[in-house]
Point group: none
Chain length 131, copies 4
Amino acid sequence: MFDINPSDPAPIWKQIEEGLRRLITLGTLQPGESVPSVRDLARDLRVNPNTVARAYQRLSDAGVLAVRRGEGTYVADEPTRPNRAHRTEVLRDAANRYASAALSVGVQLDEAVAVLEASFDKLVAVHRRKG
Amino acid sequence: MFDINPSDPAPIWKQIEEGLRRLITLGTLQPGESVPSVRDLARDLRVNPNTVARAYQRLSDAGVLAVRRGEGTYVADEPTRPNRAHRTEVLRDAANRYASAALSVGVQLDEAVAVLEASFDKLVAVHRRKG
Amino acid sequence: MFDINPSDPAPIWKQIEEGLRRLITLGTLQPGESVPSVRDLARDLRVNPNTVARAYQRLSDAGVLAVRRGEGTYVADEPTRPNRAHRTEVLRDAANRYASAALSVGVQLDEAVAVLEASFDKLVAVHRRKG
Amino acid sequence: MFDINPSDPAPIWKQIEEGLRRLITLGTLQPGESVPSVRDLARDLRVNPNTVARAYQRLSDAGVLAVRRGEGTYVADEPTRPNRAHRTEVLRDAANRYASAALSVGVQLDEAVAVLEASFDKLVAVHRRKG
DNA sequence: GTGGTCTAGACCACG
DNA sequence: GTGGTCTAGACCACA
């Protein structure tokens, strides 16, 4: 479904949370559709089940996932969308980090944009393949 | 000189390291020029001197900074430049993180590029202002 | 595993780093094998855990050790070997120091070599004993 | 006369002290002969005069150098020789450090001895050239 | 339990 | 004043 990068300083549960949000906004995971069980996803990603459970918990709290007791976990029927302010903040922070990393290794805007396009393509392609 | 972002999952010493590398590749800090003392920069950034010292030491191990015993720390006369493989890896990782964050909040490529340009402008402006 | 020499001008973290490298090149620690936890080794050597952590981190940056998050530290599957230039430099520096120390107390080459052989035997014996 | 290695972890005053002892045991500096002034040696070695003064002070205290007020500093008429116990200890420590460094980069006894011989030759040659 | 980060504060070597 | 090392002790992320 998505990859975990162990060398990314971000905690793994956060990478999982972000990965699921991505699949939902892309439509790869539709409202009402079931998501893998904690155990299955943990096995897939080769991480500890506790870590997956933590991401699921946070997403349920945020109203993005819904747990049906004894049945499984599903994408909420009307998944909460990040509000405009939050979206802008997340995006700006991430852009700053990317720009800073690029400049620190001497890369200019044009090359940074080219590599960014490749990353988008790769992530969206995953969607197309499954969709 | 640059800011520390407490919400960035990257450790502070790494943010400092990256910030200095950025100022050097941008030319804001020239080869042979002195960098702030550990204590001064620590006071500026409101972090512990040990944290700054860690960044300085990594940079001097890497050949980017040069320490003159009891005198101070300087940009190396010929600062080591990251090799191509390393540069590509850093850039790709950072691009993946940015793309993933953008998609997770429903942002498409065009908007992500626009925000990225703003970030570049802001970081390069800091350079121009001092330069 | 190895001893810390408080009268050695080299910092403790460097002595630990060197000690581990030695055990790895001798084969006492095999690729994939686990190394003592930071806390355990710190207790053994009677130093602060931070000091051990510093050595471990440098070694993992160098590709000699590999850390598995929350699990422990292991000898890398393919521990990075020092390249020829680095090896030669380290060796020549160390030889100069030894020769200088010997001559400063009036010891000639033949005696210096004899004592050196004894040191080698002692260090390699530690390996044989465990191996 | 001799070289200072700024990357040697040993303090510079100690390197100077050792260097002078070496020249004396080799006979390059004879009992009663004058040694360079603090200022001259400091300029030669490109170190702070305080650092040279510290080495001279220690050597005077040890009875290796003798200061004649207003005249200069001289090698003592009967320079104190390190006693057997001290000599053995210094030598063994130094040998251990050399053996450890060699093994940590995967060098065996035979190569270590060869490089050691080269170091001895170089240091003794300095003597011959001046002598 | 594991390693990673950070703070606070001390002492040393050098200029 | 400079950087370097070390200790002590806290908190976090992960298994």
